[in-house]
């Protein structure tokens, strides 16, 4: 039957090609949108893994509300069960681009830089040391973009910093981080002794969720985000992002599926007499189903392969183009490829179901009378 299926597809070259293109376009959208979602997912997972041991303490009015100063660090430290606490100042590196590039300045007390960044390791150099003021530790993407080396000069907000350390690639937000001493950051951005949030490290014997609530109750004017809450919040954002990106891809693929259904319905209508002949010479219902469903599935398969191929090339080109700006937006994973291929096959087969059913249910006599 396989050869008959392929031949039927090849006998209607233009129509089959257009249908395959319809599916391919849908799968292309699935690949591009899916790659965006996969990249976001990977960054999210890795970011969670490198920051999941700390409780974030914010001002009651939120991270952008201000009002959280370094004084609160000692209040947090006094809460039973807090092993360590330190403030961090976070701001966008390239204010002119509204932070769209994802690069961030992270003001960290120099003596805490290694623990604040744990478990991220250094690729070269060292973390910040007490007494450092115009030293900087950069993430791997920053290092590559600005071609930095240990000892290089790096301009931040009209001041020159010396690169003291370069972080390993993590696939997380730290790849785009520019880490400078907290005091220098506060001076540079003229925010007094304000901090964006405080990292509270829980004692090993205490539950982070319990301690989080305890901090909130003990330190006036603060709210906290425990590792668990952070994960829930981040997962919700991730879910919304994924639903938006994936569903737009799926929508395109469903339109491709309707293309297949339309083509198959036309094909079945045109071949009514042919199905009558096949039935008269002894074709079983399953033979007719196999022929029509097979055609639809093969068009799904070809469309899937083409869509994945073109989508992957497009993602590669876009990533290469965006490499200059260090915005990595797309990531193609084996999981995404498998999902896209299965989806293409499913769309093809599902779209072929109704036409196949119609073909298989034809009365041979009526079909033979068809002009």
């Amino acid at each position: 039957m396989f050869d008959l299926i392929i031949r039927n597809i090849m006998n209607r070259k233009v129509r089959s090609a257009l249908t395959v293109c319809g599916i391919a376009l849908g799968i292309f959208a699935v690949i591009v949108m899916g790659a965006m979602s996969e990249n976001f997912h990977q960054t999210f997972e890795r970011s969670m893994s490198v920051t999941s041991d700390k409780i974030r303490v914010f001002s009651e009015s939120g991270v952008f509300g201000g009002g959280l100063t370094e004084d609160k660090v000692s209040d947090v430290l006094r809460v039973a069960g807090v092993k360590d606490a330190y403030g961090l100042l976070m701001t966008t590196f390239d204010e002119d681009k509204m932070g769209m590039t994802g690069k961030q300045i992270l003001g960290v007390p120099p003596e805490k830089s290694s623990v604040a960044l744990y478990p991220v390791d250094l690729k070269a150099g060292r973390f910040l040391n007490p007494g450092d003021s115009y030293s900087v530790v950069v993430g791997s993407n920053i290092q590559r973009e600005y071609k930095l080396q240990i000892g290089s000069k790096f301009e931040i907000h009209d001041k020159y910093f010396t690169v003291a350390g370069i972080l390993d690639y993590t696939g997380s937000i730290f790849d785009n981080a520019v880490i400078i001493p907290l005091e220098t950051a506060q001076d540079l951005y003229d925010v007094g002794n304000s901090v964006s949030y405080i990292f509270a490290v829980p004692d090993e014997r205490i539950d982070a969720e319990v301690l989080s609530k305890r901090i909130e109750l003990s330190v006036k004017g603060t709210s906290t985000l425990s590792p668990g809450e952070l994960e829930v919040q981040a997962r919700q954002s991730f879910m919304i992002f994924s639903v938006i990106t994936i569903s737009s891809g799926l929508l395109a693929a469903i339109i491709g599926g309707l293309c297949v259904m339309n083509t198959m319905l036309m094909s079945v209508a045109e071949r009514t007499r042919e199905f009558g002949i096949l039935k008269a010479i002894g074709a079983e219902t399953r033979d007719i189903l196999l022929l029509t469903l097979g055609e639809a599935s093969f068009m799904g398969l070809f469309g899937g392969i083409l869509g994945i191929l073109v989508g992957s090339i497009a993602v590669y080109i876009m990533n290469a183009w965006l490499a200059n700006t260090r915005i990595v937006l797309f990531l193609i994973t084996p999981r995404l490829l498998v999902i896209a291929m299965l989806f293409a096959l499913l769309i093809g087969a599902l779209s072929g179901l109704y036409p196949a059913y119609r073909a298989s249910k034809m009365s041979p006599m009526e079909a033979l009378k068809h002009a």
């Binding site: 007499r273 042919e274 002949i277 008269a280 002894g282 079983e284 041979p364 006599m365």
Partner: protein, 254 residues
């Protein structure tokens, strides 16, 4: 004849008839009677009005007979053929073909009956336009799950026998009307059916081609192939071993 091998209860041999009804004694006289049509009727409804396309037809066909069915248009010839070919369901009556009562075969087993007991030849040839002559002949064997090599050999042998050895890879559009009809004869013969049903097989060809088709039918008949030919052409009927006339759904001259 190929082995049917379908469930015994479906394809069982009819009960042995009384001695004075020799035509039903298929088990013992299968060499002589291949088909028995008993009181076969078909009534259509046009809205609420019944149209009797065929009334109580009774026919006995012996193995190797070349039987012509004649009659004016709309007389019920094609209906009779469609009923025997299981393309339509009878309103009443029985068709016993090669020991199987076709009217009691469940719907889902009818394709197998068509494959293994019946061969069709149509007026308009009804070949699949995208397939070559060889592939068209192979087609019904595909549905019988005959292995590729065997079906290729058999299709080739049939086409060669019918004088189309040099036309194996030609598509129907590359063949003359007579050649197309010979391809459809080969296709009908492919599964070695009990009976071939030919519906106006010479309706679309010139007299020379008609004569060659009739000659093929006669040769097949002489070799023991039973053939029922619906025709308007007296020249075709003249060459048949027996002629059956139908008028207004009733067999008039038998």
């Amino acid at each position: 004849m190929p082995e049917m091998g379908i469930e015994e209860d479906v394809f069982e041999t009819p009960e042995k008839p009384e001695k004075d009804e020799p035509t039903l004694n298929l088990e013992n006289k299968s060499q002589k009677v291949i088909m028995q049509v008993e009181n076969l009727s078909k009534t259509y409804f046009q809205g609420k009005i019944p149209v009797h396309a065929l009334r109580c037809a009774c026919i006995t066909v012996r193995k190797g007979e070349l039987l012509a069915i004649m009659g004016p248009s709309g007389s019920g010839k094609s209906t009779l053929l469609a009923l025997i070919g299981t393309l339509e369901k009878a309103t009443d009556g029985n068709i016993i073909l090669d020991g199987t009562d076709l009217t009691s075969v469940p719907e889902k087993l009818l394709p197998r009956v068509r494959r293994e007991k019946i061969g069709f030849i149509f007026q308009h040839y009804n070949l699949i336009p995208t397939l070559s002559a060889l592939e068209n002949v192979e087609l019904s064997m595909r549905f019988s799950r005959v292995p590729k090599k065997e079906r290729e050999e058999r299709a080739k042998a049939l086409l060669e026998e019918l004088g189309l050895g040099d036309r194996l890879s030609h598509k129907p559009s590359e063949l003359s009307g007579g050649e197309q009809q010979r391809v459809s004869i080969a296709r009908a013969l492919a599964n070695k059916p009990a009976v071939i049903l030919a519906d106006e097989p010479t309706g679309e060809v010139d007299s020379k081609t008609r004569d060659s088709i009739v000659r093929v039918f006669k040769e097949l008949s002489e070799k023991g192939q039973t053939i029922l030919v619906v025709t308007h052409d007296p020249e075709v009927a003249k060459e048949c071993s027996r002629v059956l006339r139908i008028k207004d759904g009733t067999i008039k001259d038998y």
